[in-house]
Symmetry: C2
Subunit: 222 residues, 2 copies
């Protein structure tokens, strides 16, 4: 089990029992999620944008078709903070104060660089696609050279990362356990519903199993 | 229908058809979500942290129990970017290049200030609680003066905000529509599963309907 070095930025100041630099745990959270929030600075202002990602070994690949302005900026190797958050439940305590959420999150600090080499970019796009929809890549038209040029993929090393987790029942003040108030957790999870065919799709083309039975991590079939 | 003034920061450079400054639309997205990603700058570095929020009229209340260091920093009225993202589906196109996601997101720029007045903070916590679990506040022990002191709530004006949305089927290159590849959308949504009682809860205390039938926006009962 590998551990990521703890730095001042990733050292939790509060509730340290919820924090972890355990690399296996960080990887599990990163591999379950597929949306990250990328924070960076433009003209002295913080900007936070959601986008897709995939982990490839010790790097996070960040996808760019819908955030090109952002990704061009990030490709200058400026500092970024990438945060992944999985919400697992609402924690209902007996007091308003101790209400909480169960969640798993990862925060990565570092400098992202653009993947410029065409073959590497192609490989990175396949990794991103297979991370988000395993099985899809083999069926679709692969990116052309021009499409590759139009696509930005950034790579961010997982050198400075930490995970934060809350699980389990509420933790109330001891005196409050006598209150006649229901307490516990409402579990939340994502589900994938039945795929909706494109209106222009011929009815002879059937949906593949990876789509009709899409599941990943905490996401189940409806 | 009110519109929020468009500023250089909230003007979309790409795909402007997906962007909106329509206040009603922004409010609907904000009222459906309950987790935001707050971006701010500490020592020249971007930091992105997830936390709960609620909209109260023309302000976003940001909750603080688990991010006090962050929230103390934000209370200095530094610039923040708060992003809310709701994922609605995976968009499977015939080409790898045109794969996308259906989503609704809001980005708010501004300076947050701490709510210091005890009565106002109490009201803000009730609004946060009722936003996330409507009906809960009336059943639980209310915050004590000391708990109020330990809690930070920030208020961020919704003066500079924009929404971005993608809906509907994939948009493929015209030539690709002839490919024998399934295309369409895998809808994703959150569900609330059956509540799990705290192990210390007496079995005589039954769960309330707001918890056993928890639903909100895109979140349905399992």
């Amino acid at each position: 089990m590998t551990s990521i070095p703890q730095t001042p930025r990733t050292t939790l100041k509060r509730l340290p029992q919820r924090g972890s630099h355990d690399r296996e745990l960080i990887n599990r959270i990163l591999d379950e999620g597929f949306i990250c929030h990328v924070g960076f600075i433009i003209d002295g202002q913080p900007v936070v944008i959601p986008t897709g990602y995939a982990r490839a070994g010790d790097n996070l690949f960040i996808h760019g078709s819908q955030a090109s302005r952002m990704l061009r900026r990030l490709a200058d190797a400026i500092d970024v903070c990438v945060t992944i958050t999985l919400i697992d439940g609402l924690v209902l305590a007996r007091s308003a104060f101790h209400h909480s959420m169960n969640y798993r999150s990862v925060v990565v600090f570092g400098r992202a660089t653009a993947i410029d080499h065409q073959a590497e970019k192609f490989r990175a796009l396949r990794i991103l696609s297979e991370h988000i929809i395993p099985g899809r890549w083999a069926e679709v038209r692969e990116p052309s050279d021009r499409e590759l040029q139009l696509t930005t993929v950034l790579s961010l090393p997982l050198a400075e990362a930490s995970a934060k987790i809350r699980t389990g029942p509420p933790l109330d003040d001891e005196a409050d356990y006598d209150l006649p108030v229901w307490a516990g957790v409402i579990p939340l999870r994502m589900i994938a519903e039945a795929p909706i065919a494109d209106p222009r799709l011929p009815s002879s083309i059937l949906v593949s199993k990876y789509a009709s039975e899409y599941e990943r991590g905490n996401i189940r079939k409806a």
